[in-house]
């Protein structure tokens, strides 16, 4: 395909140009990058390094300056009992933490899968020509535009067991035999969070995919049309491969976001082990409990787990960020 043959040749020729002008450009680009790099180092780099440092100390929130270095004690330490049995303690041996990791990963996987499929459908619909398309495109962004706390509160009222509109509708339409406590019971709480998250972030996914769809030249479809290719086959053979780079980048954004989910779960569900995620647990240890260093260790692990999953995804999915593919 046209883009496939063009992209590599451009990539190959680029480094060969060594004219004075190009070098000057590269230098200018570096100078322009400096303010952003400094800003990043101050607002992201420094807090990150501090968190990692605190995770190796015994810091508590009321005594940050007096923190003592204790090595890997927050992550793993062990004592040998008189009987000879070894007891492991620390984050890596904490079942509550691994439960939270599992909750988070499961949440991220399910929500991002649904959002990718639904986002694709919405994007395909919005890509078609119809009257009032601009209006619909704007309207569909509303869930994404509402601050998460506000939409979480809104949904928590709609899902409320006694006063919620969903139970009321379900009872009136005869779909429910009795009112369901959606966010309160362990069986439905995660599902409720997933529904709200999918509702909220599908528009974001749709928008990024739509941008990718609009990059696909129309003449490919015309050619396929003339050859009599079935629309479903057109989707699998033309649309999906060509929109793949945009889709992969959209998924990675959402994955990063979903893995640090905090606000929805914190507002919507009781603080129980069925829905507790890594971020919720880290916050609890950092601020509610007197365990700042342990919470820092959780934050560090959260960072490492997200980094690991992202690298895995980029590697397995062969994602390239320059817009090309494979």
């Amino acid at each position: 395909m046209a883009t496939d043959t063009l992209a590599p040749s451009a990539a190959v020729t680029a480094p060969k140009i060594k004219s004075e002008l190009m070098q000057q450009r590269a230098r200018a680009a570096r100078i322009f990058l400096v303010p952003m790099l400094i800003a990043l180092a101050v607002v992201a780099g420094w807090p990150l390094i501090r968190s990692i440092y605190f995770s190796f100390t015994d810091a508590s929130l009321s005594n940050l300056d007096g923190a003592q270095w204790i090595g890997f004690g927050n992550y793993l330490r062990w004592t040998t009992l008189d009987s000879g049995a070894v007891r492991y303690r620390g984050l890596l041996a904490d079942p509550a933490w691994w439960n939270a990791v599992w909750n988070t990963v499961r949440f991220a996987f399910i929500s991002v899968s649904f959002e990718a499929v639904l986002g694709m459908i919405v994007a395909l619909v919005l890509n078609a020509e119809f009257r009032g398309r601009g209006l619909v495109r704007a309207a569909i962004l509303i869930p994404w535009a509402i601050p998460t706390i506000v939409s979480a509160r809104m949904w928590s009222w709609m899902l409320n067991d006694q006063f919620g509109i969903l139970n009321d509708l379900g009872m009136r339409l005869g779909l429910l035999s009795q009112k369901v406590a959606w966010t309160a019971t362990a069986d439905t709480a995660m599902t409720a969070v997933l529904v709200v998250d999918i509702w909220k972030t599908t528009p974001f996914m749709a928008l990024l995919i739509l941008a990718g769809l609009q990059m696909i030249p129309k003449d490919i479809y015309e050619a396929a049309e003339i050859d009599g290719v079935h629309p479903i086959k057109q989707f699998w053979k033309i649309t999906l491969p060509l929109v793949r780079p945009a889709l992969m980048v959209a998924i990675i954004f959402r994955l990063l976001d979903a893995l640090r989910i905090f606000d929805l779960i914190y507002v919507l569900t009781p603080n129980s082990s069925a829905t507790k995620t890594m971020s919720v647990m880290a916050r609890e240890n950092l601020f509610d409990f007197d365990k700042f260093s342990y919470g820092s260790a959780m934050s560090t692990m959260l960072f490492l787990i997200i980094a690991l999953l992202t690298i895995l995804y980029i590697w397995l999915g062969q994602v390239r960020f320059d817009g090309g593919d494979r």
Partner: protein, 423 residues
């Protein structure tokens, strides 16, 4: 020393007369429930008129667990924006370092308050906060429904379970499909620790961690109490109760959709408010007892206090505000309007209060016998103790293991947390 204080006294009275030459902009945080914020604003208006200071209320979520996390963060960061904090009775040992010592400023008035409350707010000889009101919960019951079904006010939890079931079923058969038997605070937060401590203590199952620091929670009576509570969910209490805090449970109760309700005294005046469907139809009783050798009616000690941040830029004016909010005049207004229990002993004999809020004089003995949460023996680890306890109870209520299993795990977790011989 004495002359100095005299001078300060003179100076403050001079500034008072001059009318706020030293006027300051103060901020107070409050996560009050119901009409509490409106009441506070009314009192602050009086304070502003008297002193010339300006006071801004920063509203907070009503869940005490949510408030605590935020306050701890602010105080650790040395936040100067908030001058005065409303603190829960259990916070004093955890936040003592961040608040000013009020013993000097309050030395003339501490004698009016119940000594036990002053003691609960004193950490290593430092008076961390001044009491604004105290709390001991009540069993709210619908007297019209109990009369209709000819039932006495339940004296034990088992009796409550049976009565609630009978009336709930009867009312549902009569067409009130929304009717429930009992609502309480079942969300996984500090409120559940209060509720569950009452169940455990009323069955003679101890108080989680005893005053000497020993962990007592893993015992058959405690398991029995929590298993009984677990049997309520889906039977006499809605499943949604697993996510209710004070205000959510009051919502169900005050709409007239529950026979019984466990809540703090503030729900008394709200339930009798002009817009309340159950006004005049309910009354309060002490919480039921369990059964077993040491069974008794148990109420968890609550209560809110006023503390002054040591990072305040106007500490003198902030202390004045704390003294004002804990004063007899404000506590009386609070009792009359909010049915909050005063911490000043004399107010329990006040004729106006007895007339408007009969719950208050009746509650004097209940709060004096109330069970404290183990915040004193567990010190800085209290929050985690409480969190482990409410998680174990919440799991049991959600049907995730029996009480005996979860309490055994809790005991092991608490032993780990304690670490050695002392907390």
């Amino acid at each position: 020393m004495k002359i100095n204080k005299l001078l300060i006294g003179l100076l403050t009275s001079v500034t008072l007369v001059v009318g706020g030459a030293q006027a300051a902009d103060l901020s107070i945080v409050s996560g009050d429930t119901g009409t509490g914020l409106a009441f506070l604003r009314g009192q602050l208006d009086k304070f502003e008129a008297d002193t010339g200071n300006k006071v801004t209320v920063v509203p907070m979520p009503s869940s005490t667990s949510d408030q605590f996390g935020q306050y701890k963060l602010w105080l650790a960061a040395g936040n100067t924006d908030i001058d005065v904090y409303q603190t829960d009775v259990i916070w004093a040992p955890q936040l003592a370092d961040q608040f000013l010592d009020l013993s000097d400023a309050a030395k003339d008035v501490v004698g009016q308050h119940f000594p036990s409350i002053i003691e609960s707010q004193t950490v290593n000889g430092k008076l961390v906060a001044l009491p604004a009101f105290t709390d001991a919960p009540a069993l709210y019951y619908r007297k019209d429904l109990l009369e209709k079904y000819n039932k006495p006010v339940p004296k034990t939890w088992q009796e409550l379970t049976d009565t609630a079931k009978e009336i709930q079923d009867g009312e549902r058969a009569a067409g009130n499909a929304e009717m429930w038997g009992f609502v309480f605070q079942g969300n996984a937060y500090e409120g559940l620790t209060c509720d569950a401590l009452e169940w455990v203590k009323s069955f003679g199952g101890g108080q989680i961690v005893e005053a000497d620091g020993s962990i007592s929670i893993n015992n058959p009576q405690a398991a029995k109490a929590i298993d009984l509570a677990a049997s309520w969910i889906g039977s006499i209490s809605p499943e949604g109760n697993l996510a209710y805090g004070e205000e959510e449970s009051r919502g169900v109760w005050q709409l007239g959709n529950s026979v019984f309700h466990r809540n703090w005294p503030y729900a008394y005046s709200l339930g009798n408010g002009a817009d309340s469907p159950i006004a005049g139809k309910f009354d309060v009783a002490p919480l039921p007892a369990g059964d077993g050798p040491d069974a008794r009616s148990a109420a968890t000690l609550g209560g809110w206090n006023i503390a002054v941040s040591k990072y305040s830029k106007a500490p003198d004016e902030a202390i004045k505000l704390a003294l004002f909010l804990s004063s007899e005049a404000v506590q009386k207004e609070r009792a009359l309007n909010q049915s909050n229990l005063p911490t000043i002993e004399a107010l329990y004999d006040d004729a106006d209060i007895a007339k408007t809020q009969p719950i208050i004089p009746a509650w004097k003995t209940i709060f004096q016998n109330a069970v404290p949460r183990p915040s004193a023996p567990t010190k800085a680890k209290y929050n985690e103790v409480s969190s482990l306890f409410w998680s174990a109870v919440h799991s049991t209520l959600s049907g995730n293991g029996t009480a005996a299993e979860n309490l055994e795990g809790l005991e092991a977790d608490l032993t780990d947390l304690k670490g050695g011989d002392s907390w």
